[in-house]
Amino acid sequence: MQDPRLRLLAVVALSAAAFTSVHGAILAFLWWACTLSGPVCLWRSRWPLLVFFPLLTVSLALFVTGGEWASYSLRLAVVLLVATFAFLDQGPGEFLSVCTWLLGRGLGFDCGLAGEIALSALRFLEDEIRKAKWAFSLKGMPIGIAGIVPLSTGLLYSALRRASDQGDLLVARGYSGGGSVCARFRTPFRDILVTVAALAIAFIAFRPLGEFFILIQ
């Protein structure tokens, strides 16, 4: 999707739909698989799939304790898939542009900036993990259990150093709160269709399945 405003709207609608009901989750999954380049995004970078590990843990706990594990896992898995798509499809600066457009130059800019810094940290992390693996490879060492602590410490350290550098840079450029962004959005017709489909899915998801079939009769 090229218009980040429509992408955000579609993602919010689909996340709500998927979380609300199983049929909403199935429709949201079909939207992800067919309508958009979700699978293509995952092929480009699969590491965001790591977010599924906590879900697996919770699902396992629900299974053991006799909870509604199947419905929960399916709904949350689709929410995470949609979130992964939103992250991978988003370009640098887009979140800042959307927030400023939506909430204005004060609060909107600040929220957008905070979100943008967080997103760039996630993108940076992907690169850092790859380089850390190279470091182990150069020394002929496998990344075992013992390597997890120094690896995580190193990643945390570089994230903190980067945050500090970014803070210094913002101060040096005179940032004290708020700001303006001269964003230009392109809205292809395809994006509108895809967003309408997402909103329709959200509409269906918030109604019981039986009621929906009565409606179309």
Binding site: K131, W134, A135, L138, P150, G154, S158
Partner: protein, 232 residues
């Protein structure tokens, strides 16, 4: 012993980096502007990044090491002592050479970036690798550290040393000069003949070449010596 990059092409976003070259034993200086492709070449040569096209052949190279531009990326251990050991080099010798004697039990992340760079340079230079690739080794070092590093690189004999840098003032004596031109690696030849055709040479070297006083090599001492000849 030889490292051969046969029609290698690496795509990084919109940019295509190309190299078709052979590195023989000696010190190879790879220069180019920021973003030209030096770090990518270093990764490909170290075998960490597979090329999009072409092949990399290592003839007679058993051990190799790459020093990243950012020293934090190398850290895999909890203490300085363990970190030095992970490179397979004598701990006390490296601690002493890097000016960190008595600090072996500290966390390597407690060091400043300059100290960390010095430590890791000491580690990689203490190794006996057939292929040593240094990516921007001068960054984070002061003038004294840079001159010391030039002397250390000059002492490395027998293996292939590839020095990827955009440093222009402090360089060691090198054997071959390579240059990135439009993201394509070009060989300028062996030193000193290569110096005259080195397009991205520092202004001082260019002025000397224009005055007809081509330095014997690219080190600080050689440039100084050529400059003295100009005054004569």
């Amino acid at each position: 012993m030889e490292l051969v990059l046969d029609r290698v092409l690496v795509k990084r976003g919109e940019v295509s980096i190309r190299a078709s070259c052979a590195f023989s034993p000696g010190v190879h200086l790879v220069t180019g502007s920021v973003g030209a492709g030096k770090s990518t070449l270093a990764l490909v040569a170290a075998g960490l990044l597979p090329p999009t096209e072409g092949s990399v052949e290592r003839r007679g190279i058993a051990r190799s090491m790459l020093l990243f531009q950012f020293p934090e990326l190398h850290l895999t251990e909890k203490t300085i002592r363990e970190e030095i050991s992970s490179f397979g080099v004598p701990v006390d010798g490296v601690l002493s050479r890097s000016g960190l004697f008595g600090r072996g039990e500290e966390d390597p992340l407690s060091l400043s970036r300059g100290e960390l760079k010095r430590l890791l340079l000491s580690c990689v230079l203490a190794r006996d690798d057939d292929l040593l690739i240094l990516d921007e080794p001068f960054s984070g070092l002061d003038c004294t550290g840079r001159l010391r590093l030039c002397r250390e690189i000059g002492k490395k004999r027998g293996g292939i040393v590839i020095l990827c840098t955009h440093e222009r003032h402090f360089l060691p004596r090198v054997d071959v000069i390579w240059e990135f031109e439009d993201h394509t690696l070009a060989c300028r030849g062996r030193v000193p003949e290569a110096i005259a055709s080195w397009q991205g040479a520092p202004a001082g070297i260019k002025a000397l070449v224009a005055a007809g006083q081509v330095p014997q090599n690219v080190s600080f001492e050689d440039i100084g010596e050529a400059a003295c000849r100009t005054r004569d």
